[in-house]
Amino acid sequence: MADGAMDRNLFRYIWRHSRRDQLVIFAVVIASLPFYFWSLELPKRIVNDAIQGRAFSDGKQTVGAFDVTLSLPGFLGGGSWQLFPGFQLDQMGLLFGLSGLFLALVLINGGFKYWINVAKGALGERMLRRMRFDLVRLLLRFLPQTLHGIKPAEAATIVKDEVEPIGGFIGDAFVLPLFLGTQAATAMAFILMQNVWLGLLAGSVVAVQLIVIPYLRREQLRLGKERQIASRKLAGRVGEIVEGIEVVHVHDASRWELAEIGGRLHHLFDLRFRLFKRKFMVKFLNNLLAQITPFLFYAIGGYLALKGQIDIGQLVAVIGAYRDLPPPLKELIDWDQQRMDVQLKYDQVLQQFLPDQLMAEELQDPARGRNEPLVGPLVVQDLRIMDQHGQVVLDHFTLDTTLPQHVALIGEGAAASALARVIARRMEPAHGRLQLADLDLTRLPEAISGRRMAYAGPDPVLFPGSIRDNLVYGLRRCPREAALSDDPAYRRRLAEARATGNPVDDPETDWLDYAAAGASDPLSLDLALVAALELTGMGADVYRFGLSGRIDAGAGADLRERIVGARHRLRERLASEGMARLVEPFDPARYNAQATLGENILFGVPLSGPLRNGRLTADPDFGRALNETGLADLLVEIGLRIAQTMTEIFRGLPPGDPLFEEFSFIAADDLPDYGDMLRKVSLRGPSALTLPERLRVMAVPLDYIEPRHRLGLLDEAVMQVVLRARARFRDLARARGSVAFYDPAEVCEAAPLRDNLLFGRVAHGLADAEAKVTAAMTRLIEELGLREEVERLGLSYQVGPSGRLLTPAQRVRVHLARCLVKQPDVVILDGACTALGEREAERILRMLLDHLAGRTLIAVLRDDALGEHFDSVIEFDGAQARLVRVAQASHHQHFEEVQA
């Protein structure tokens, strides 16, 4: 077992990490037992002494009770001291006194149970946290070659789901058998003390429960496991069918697939049925035993009581004690079952997470980073690399040179890439030495390889988040001092982390190493990020993202002013260049013909509710504004006219035709409904429409733009009503805050930056209007020095899961830029640019050669078209390498000069 890993035996693992807590809980459990025993004993006294009045049998009116006497056992001399004389009570007083005591004991027992449950729960959760954390930590220590064997979904399931029942069990692992066992033993002992025969009777029933039921249950468990595997496989098969459904249809295999699934379902049914029978059998037995014993107690106990061998109080107490016996026993049996189940699961989890070899823990020690650059003589001796299947990829490779320099590894096969990966610590060599100055590269701590090297492989791995988040990933090195160190919640967090072997680092604080990117604060870092993106050819994209981005609510007043200023300048600029008519600006007092009718009423960006989903008429304020201004009736009228036109011109097109989706105001499926409404209205007028119909018709014209759709529906009068509705809606919606309204003098945070600058709509039907306006806007942004701000906004663009919101080329560019941002000494380029196409890959390579002058670039190339630009060129043919050209003396000399 590798160091730092988890114990093979679950119990040892639990004991090792929770010994102290378990012992505390033990102690409390033991402390609770006398109270429990007392609560069993007390009913006897209540019945015998208080109710039946045995304490008063010799004619006494009062009796002493609640005295506290300390007595020494006989072998210590047998002395006794009365610490508290107690009270003198009559029969009623005794009854209520004892009953009160009983109530107090019930409360105390409940209190113990509560505390024990909470402590157990906390213990279990802490262990679960530790276990999950240990698993993830192990995952991070997997060697590249072992990592290939792990399926991401499986690892996630293990960490999330499979350890969950183990965690739930941990709290009970030691405490439960102890607690229930002692409880059952106490009850058992109590019964035995009352009467040996009744005790033996209870004991034999218990024995049956303890022997027979677990036996039956064991079979049940086995079946359950079999069922779990069978249903997991069923899910897998259904998944396979769905994935391969095309093949199923192409080869007419439906019948076979159905038969196969049918067979599985039968097997599953069979298992479940057998399981059911077992389950109910166990239940039946349990119930039977539980019911039969009281019968025996009543019969035999009653007989003994009548014979005078025990008293009624004892009998009541025995029955009471017996009632307490089966539940702990049942739970004990459950516990044993769970124990087996959980140990099995734990073994399975460990099998996945304990490969033969893990990365040595010290290689991940952050303290092993160094500040010196990775330069100096590079010596490779007799290196052999093998792939996953044990094939030799590169053999007898020897090299003697000096870094920094630019090295081209040329070859079509796997050798060049394998060497690059070995240097980047993404692969372990099978044999050989790889030394840079005084560092053994095969055992380079990640604190050095991860900071001073950057490996860009063929798969651009991006994390969900913004482009910025992805770019600074390589700078997340060390957390700043937490600002909240005095906060009690924060202290508690730290204490919990320490108690569970978790890190005390705070993920919320600033982790970025600005200096590593040549920056000093978030602002200059952003500029460095943009510069890196420019290098990898993504500057224009980021600029575009910025224009479509939303202005941060935290943006300073200065930036807001500049944006509003730019908005006015853009208007002037367009006017002075004769392009004023290309954009129709938003004017609160005028209808914007280039915007939709709905936009004209809203005159802002919806923030919430139905407005946000485009269902304007569902918004109460909106409806009210339309009704109060009389626009509602107008909209119905216009909607009916549009419906009329749509039914006319789309008649004869089949319903699924793409033209419907693209052009029609009314979906093909809805057209008949509108036809009905039109007929109804032509016969009986607009009042014939029901309210839902009215709302549907009203919604139709909201997407209408006169210059685009050209149905000639809007005249000046309608526009005036729309403006009144706009004003009314604004009054209503303002209170609710459901819309961010356009205001010529303010930035609209909910709208993209582009809309904020344009503050209007580009005119429809004018050739190249969009392109001309964009060009004018870009020129202005450059002139006003706003480009930087736009690009910074673009850095906040979300890349989506695995970067899916970016194009493949953009992903590659972000991936490359991330490698450059941390300013590594050694950049290793292994097929990262292939996805960009040959020409772009070459452009980026030239750029990198230039950008990394004085630093090391190791590039895997397919041919030597650019070989002349490299200091060293190594060609690979199969597993053999040929040193075409290796930079030597001059660099050594250069290196020595640098060192001096």
């Binding site: 793409p658 033209l659 693209e662 052009f663 050209r710 429809h764 039907g765 050739a767």
Partner: protein, 148 residues
């Protein structure tokens, strides 16, 4: 100018003159109206053919790139249809069109046009008839040329 006036304009185009007005209205509705200032280019020679145009108002020059520079070979005026051959044959633009005076045109997207032809045989036949007539004219001209 509304859809109805555009339908009137479309009826003046020989290729569309026999087509049901409701279809022409659909054609107009699914097209885009675009205005060009004098000197603005409708499309460039060699570019992808993505749309046909009907000139609603104004005039435009047809320019062809030759070894001696650009040559104006024809003048397009109201109701002329242009670019339809390119979208039918999937060939790149054979000429550059530049607005002479302000041009108002109806831009019929390639996808929409082909979709309409596919859905309405009457339209497809009208287009075929027009193309057949052109071929006939070309043949006749060839015959007269070779007879010379």
């Amino acid at each position: 100018m509304t859809l109805d006036t555009e339908v009137q304009a479309l009826r003046q185009v020989p290729m569309f003159k026999d087509i049901d007005p409701a279809r022409l209205k659909l054609l107009a509705f699914t097209s885009e109206r675009v205005s060009y200032g004098a000197g603005q280019t409708l499309f460039e020679q060699g570019a992808m053919s993505d749309a046909a145009y009907v000139i609603l108002a104004g005039t435009a020059d047809v320019l062809i790139d030759t070894s001696n520079g650009r040559l104006a070979v024809a003048l397009l005026k109201t109701s002329d249809l242009l670019g339809e051959m390119g979208i039918l044959s999937d060939a790149p633009r054979s000429a550059t069109i530049v607005a002479r005076a302000g041009v108002r045109a109806l831009r019929i997207g390639k996808r929409v046009f082909l979709e309409l032809l596919g859905q309405f045989p009457q339209m497809a036949i009208a287009v075929m008839r027009e193309l057949a007539k052109r071929l006939e004219r070309t043949n006749a001209r060839l015959a007269s040329l070779s007879a010379r």
